[in-house]
Symmetry: C2
Subunit: 83 residues, 2 copies
């Protein structure tokens, strides 16, 4: 069994209104030093070893998790050690 | 200047309907091997060195980024090397 962690973020240059809103909130909370806030998604799932190929994970990312026009993704695969 | 990356995820045991929906979509896409899908948030921002204490980041996470009743968070701080 493998654990897959996918991180989806907006591409550089794509406007992030949600990030801008959070940045405003950080400034109001007393942190005017914060800048360049970007919000992304984090998806975690388990997958059987044989299905967990790079090709399969890329397909899932491109078809399901990320809108590749405006978003980019990266992923990590971890071995799950069952006791 | 530091770059902070915050990962917010639902606590174990908290129902994740969005994850369940994505899991269904993965099965329909031809990946019935996927299980335990959990969706989280990923927040990235820049912070000046002096403001970037553990205490400050924890405060931001607890007050702004995460709902600590149902969510947990972890964060990484990276040095930004400006050219």
């Amino acid at each position: 069994m493998k654990k897959v962690k996918v991180y989806v973020t907006l591409k550089e240059g794509v406007l992030d209104p949600q990030g801008k809103a959070v940045e405003g909130a950080m400034h109001r909370l007393g942190y005017p030093e914060a800048s360049g806030v970007r919000i992304g998604k984090f998806i975690e799932f388990a997958m059987t070893d044989d299905a967990c190929s790079d090709q399969n994970i890329r397909e899932l990312c491109e078809k399901l998790f990320a809108n590749t026009v405006i978003e980019e993704f990266r992923y990590e695969v971890e071995e799950v050690t069952s006791p």
